[in-house]
């Protein structure tokens, strides 16, 4: 660690990991509710478990992005963070607001939560991923503004690198597009149209800038490859991201009431969306092959390469599978969507946050890398989580295809709930793979507590 203010990243990373555990536990609860329908009913209805699962995911990824920024921006800017105190205050504000929101979901019926928080004044609740009470959303905006101010000032007053600027653009975009969550017209079609400006323009737009810049940072650090080379590829990746991804939003405008020309715009542009992910994979392997040093943190290198590959698989391959309008006509809103959602979120955003944590945490704990034993356990957790997530994806894909086969392409379609019972075997297998994922996550947690001979910091 070169700047003492980088240490504010540590609580962010710890909180991220803690919430990640919560996310997975609720995922497993839902997985059981899929096969044992009355599990925890009516105390914990499925929709409540789902909002806890997905909102924890978003919140912990945001903690991860913020921690990553607090860690890498001072180093890139070659200057201390503008205000470490503000960073710590915002940490607690965000954590407490997040915890209260989750408790609200769990302890109060949702309709009552909506009433308690005055949802009717500015109704924004009850839409997928945007279930947070309006006051929580306002809180998120305030935290984001404070965070952007802190990071922005640091960059403005320090060295402006491409990594810094791309990261900042991604973070500003994240905040700006979140503002569309406050627009909720009575017209469902318009509501859905702009809902995707949050969801799609996040994950297939500005978040990819954050992803690519964090990955570029870690790759520079662990390989020592020339910055010019890395920055050029960073530009190529994000250029392709935005060129394909913005109009690619059209792949969500096929069947929600929007005009039919979106079937062309959406199909053509989103079919090219895998390109930036593909370049990212080539880029990561090229950089690691050209490495000028052997960094002792082998686990971080593994996470970095794994991110590139799994993001390409989940977003690129699984995204492409259902993105063309004639195919999406059949797969839209089946488990196929969930299959893709899981592998894409895991491969791109979960893994990049775990990459920066893997690289930064040892430094924050005053060592260059963890002991060999700790790294071996961490690499085990990498493989357990990644492979089990691929299996979750495969099982859900099978369930999605059966949905199409038994209902949508069938001559004698059966009712939805009957179909669900017929495919229950795949939901059981998904739950099994989910348990393996949890074991991987436990191994990951354990890896932080394994001592042994740590690699000393050269400049400590």
């Amino acid at each position: 660690m070169q700047y003492s203010s980088q240490s504010v990243a540590k609580p962010y990373f710890i909180a991220a990991i803690g919430l990640f555990v919560g996310q997975i536990l609720f995922g497993l609860i839902m997985g059981l509710q899929y096969v044992i329908g009355d599990f925890l009913f009516p105390q914990l209805p499925f929709n409540v478990a789902r909002m806890v699962h997905t909102n924890l995911l978003i919140v912990w990824l945001l903690f991860g992005f913020m921690g990553a920024s607090y860690f890498l921006v001072p180093e890139e800017s070659e200057k201390e963070l503008h205000s470490p105190l503000l960073a710590l205050i915002l940490f607690w504000v965000f954590l407490i607001a997040g915890a209260l929101t989750i408790l609200g979901y769990l302890l109060v019926p949702y309709a009552q939560l909506a009433e308690m928080t005055g949802n009717s004044i500015l109704p924004t609740m009850g839409r997928e991923f945007l279930e947070q009470p309006t006051i929580t959303k306002i809180g998120i905006v305030i935290v984001a503004l404070g965070f952007l101010y802190n990071i922005g000032m640091t960059i403005l007053q320090g060295r402006k690198t491409v990594i810094n600027l791309v990261l900042l653009t991604g973070l500003v975009g994240l905040a700006v597009f979140f503002l569309f969550s406050f627009y909720n017209p009575s017209n469902l079609v318009l509501d859905k149209y702009y809902w995707w400006w949050v969801v799609h323009l996040w994950v297939e737009g500005v978040w990819e800038l954050i992803l690519a810049s964090i990955l570029a940072f870690v790759l520079i650090k662990v390989t020592g490859v020339d910055r010019e080379f890395i920055e050029k590829w960073l530009y190529v990746i994000i250029a392709m991201t935005l060129i394909t991804g913005i109009v690619g939003t059209g792949h969500h405008y096929y069947w929600i009431g929007t005009p039919e020309y979106w079937q062309w715009w959406g199909s053509i542009f989103s079919a090219m969306e895998p390109i930036p992910f593909f370049i990212m994979t080539i880029f990561a392997f090229t950089v690691v092959n050209k490495r000028r040093r052997e960094h002792p943190n082998k686990a971080a290198v593994l996470w970095a390469l794994g991110t590139a590959v799994t993001a390409f698989l989940g977003a690129g391959v699984w995204g492409f599978l259902h993105t063309l309008a004639p195919i999406n006509y059949y797969t839209h809103g089946t488990q196929m969507t969930a299959a893709h959602g899981h592998l894409a979120f895991y491969g791109a955003y979960v893994m990049v946050v775990l990459t920066i944590i893997s690289y930064a945490m040892p430094l924050l704990r005053e060592r260059v890398a963890n002991s060999n034993t700790a790294q071996v356990v961490e690499m085990w957790s990498f493989w357990l989580m990644t492979i089990s997530m691929i299996f979750i994806t495969l099982f859900l894909t099978a369930a999605g295809i059966l949905h199409v086969y038994l209902i949508r392409a069938a001559e004698n379609p059966i009712p939805f709930m009957v179909m669900q019972e017929k495919v229950a075997l795949f939901y059981w297998m998904r739950e099994g793979a989910g348990v393996v994922f949890l074991i991987g996550l436990i191994a990951y947690l354990i890896s932080f507590f394994i001592g042994g001979e740590e690699k000393e910091a050269a400049t400590a």
């Binding site: 997928e128 079937q263 839209h332 809103g333 939805f416």
Partner: protein
């Protein structure tokens, strides 16, 4: 090799490309806005339909169901439920009203929301309106 394609070229493609395609997206959005009224039949969004949408949101129905294919995949598609239930608002209301408080043993069940008659009417109107949106023939099949 690397001299042919320089960093500043990459940067220019990034700036130029993002601005161009963002503007294109805005233009398409503008065109969509003017084409929508014929497809969403907004003239039929009565205060009751709007209220129905609010009730839909306040109970997070989207957390189990899909609506026009978006939402959760735990329970049936509802964009076309009005048609699936034989174009009957009464059938929709009856279903929602009759959910057992403690669920159905061993099976997925929908919570009992204890909605008033007025709220049930609004919800049913909202689902009826939704079923009349022009979705380019989606879903492929009445079962969803």
């Amino acid at each position: 090799m690397s001299e042919v394609f320089t960093k500043s070229m990459a940067r220019n493609i990034y700036y130029g490309g993002s601005v161009f395609f963002f503007l294109l997206f805005l233009a398409l959005t503008f065109d969509t806005s003017s084409a929508l009224p014929k497809r969403d039949h907004r003239e039929n969004i009565t205060p009751q339909v709007a209220k129905g949408k609010a009730i839909w949101e306040e109970h997070d129905c989207i957390g189990c169901h899909t609506l026009l294919g978006e939402g959760a995949y735990y329970a049936p598609e509802l964009g076309n439920v009005y048609k699936r239930f034989g174009n009957s608002k009464e059938a929709i209301k009856g279903f929602i009203k009759s959910r057992p408080v403690n669920g159905i043993p061993g099976r997925r069940s929908m919570p009992q929301f204890n909605l008033t008659e007025e709220e049930l009417d609004a919800l049913a109107e909202f689902l009826k309106w939704a079923s009349e949106i022009n979705t380019s023939n989606w879903p492929p099949n009445i079962q969803g």
